[in-house]
Symmetry: C2
Subunit: 341 residues, 2 copies
Amino acid sequence: MTNKNPTLSDVARASGVHFSTVSRVMNPETRQKVSAEVAKRVLAEASRLGYRPNRAASTLVTRKSRIIGVVLPDITNAVFPPILLGIEEGLRKHGYLAIVANVGADEEEQLFVINRLLGQQVDGLILATARRDDPVIKLCKAQNVPVVTVNRSDENGVASCVVSDDVVGMRLAVNHLLALGHRHIAHIAGPENLSTGHVRRMGFLAAIEASELDASQAFVFESSGYSRECGKAALLELLRQSPQTTAVVTGSDLVAIGCYDAIRELGLNCPQDISVVGHNDMPYMDLIRPPLTTIRIRHHGIGAEAARLILQTIDAPDSSVLDVRLKPELVVRESTAAPRS
Amino acid sequence: MTNKNPTLSDVARASGVHFSTVSRVMNPETRQKVSAEVAKRVLAEASRLGYRPNRAASTLVTRKSRIIGVVLPDITNAVFPPILLGIEEGLRKHGYLAIVANVGADEEEQLFVINRLLGQQVDGLILATARRDDPVIKLCKAQNVPVVTVNRSDENGVASCVVSDDVVGMRLAVNHLLALGHRHIAHIAGPENLSTGHVRRMGFLAAIEASELDASQAFVFESSGYSRECGKAALLELLRQSPQTTAVVTGSDLVAIGCYDAIRELGLNCPQDISVVGHNDMPYMDLIRPPLTTIRIRHHGIGAEAARLILQTIDAPDSSVLDVRLKPELVVRESTAAPRS
DNA sequence: CTGAAAGCGCTTACAG
DNA sequence: CTGAAAGCGCTTACAG
């Protein structure tokens, strides 16, 4: 039936050499140890037979699988596909493949998946699921598994991370609103246990601090998540607590869309009554109504950097932990305008 | 440094039994061959040592990796993330993992990636890159590799596929426009070498055929791709060739968005001058202006079915080739209306 | 029920 | 430059 795939021995037999010689020929790095003439013959036979090295066997002996585990919280969230693309392209360029797993916030599930991945002998892990204080990451480090976090970071300094510079992002957002004349600015913050939630909140406060506004003119409301529903609920409650607010900076475009929902429900208009700034610049944010002013994050670049970093970490396991921050940019569209005077 | 991971032998030594006994204990299916008392002791030692089976080794002997290769044309296209999610969830439920690779239309690149995947000993392949006549799929079948295509199908009947029922989808779209009173309906078709392009076009023509319209009242324009840019160029040219058109059915929401661009550029309005029907119902299509009437495809369900099918194919390699078609539904929003009379 | 052995397909010192 | 051998960590007939 399934005519078994040819092995080193099959190629060796066909070429009239020992299978260890074939092995040396198949690996470009050891090829020069073999005479050119023999190498040529072996290569010809290998390709004639359709020889394809069995990675399970080489992984077993070299302890390198050339596979990276990529763990995402929700591939369905539009920020992750470009990150994943950047990762995958970056890895493939160096002969690595990615096993991709989607896991919720449940720690048990995360551990289960990571153990499965480690059993698979992945050479490293790229985690997009990091919490600021993440026991899963501690565990990986305790086992000397190379780990890089993307998009979010763990703040214990045990793993390198590749993130957007959220302090800059929030400053861009706040300064834009200030320039438009807003004097009562609010921030809907994401969960405090995620670095994105925490750092963006700090960035918001720092930007206010640096302005001529006093603390009473800034308001922070913590939302339980980054979804559209959370955004709607958050703005509704925020406006109840701080009715003088004329502009809101969010931590996610989805939250901003939820704000649109809330504004509509209240019979108000964006940007006339409330200006809204998103975060991420997901696809099609130029097409929604009103087109969303937002902080564009370089997701693809973040993924590409993460691929580069994990490979670097694998190469030099003792090199120092790095924080890579990519600069975001402000994209001004129509959801922000001067406040009603 | 890296205190080596424990192996079967380590657990055996700690438990005072032979490592083959440990092996039997670790596998739930052979566990009952071992006395309950020994099994308990072994399990305790295994967990104490943090034993984790090395999949490279078991793959080498069983020739099963419990890994599936998933090949996507563009993870950044919003239809694929939910498909991938469905696949990954479905696989994981059965202990399988997914290696995900993104490849362009280039056949060389596809072959390269698939060979790499096969070298990795994947148990099967889920391909979202199928063309109607796909040499890559032929090659896989020639090597007895289980293959399932998703979203698109190969028409040679060599591989099972999981797709949306496009004939139904197009009928839904056309009948909706007919009911609104349209009498000059056009279709922007996708590439003929993709099943989605071909079948949707056939479905469009069949729906027109079944109506009281005559062939001169229907117009098909083939676009070179499913992008926003292609959609814009297509509608511009279509309107030049068939200016009486009052409604257009597309094969993709992206193309529909491109139609919006074209309509705006011409100084026309949607839906007053031209009604537009999308295809897929990507996220946020309810938020764009005007909210898009479209054919909703059950992407997540398609992914879940594909996972089920590939596992079934692996279990019973000689079972027959299946076409699984999920029913789409019409989502009416505001991009369609009665034509100007 | 448990152990001893062979073997999966490779890589890589070690000889010659 | 090439071959012979050991060994990676498992699974699974085969004995007992």
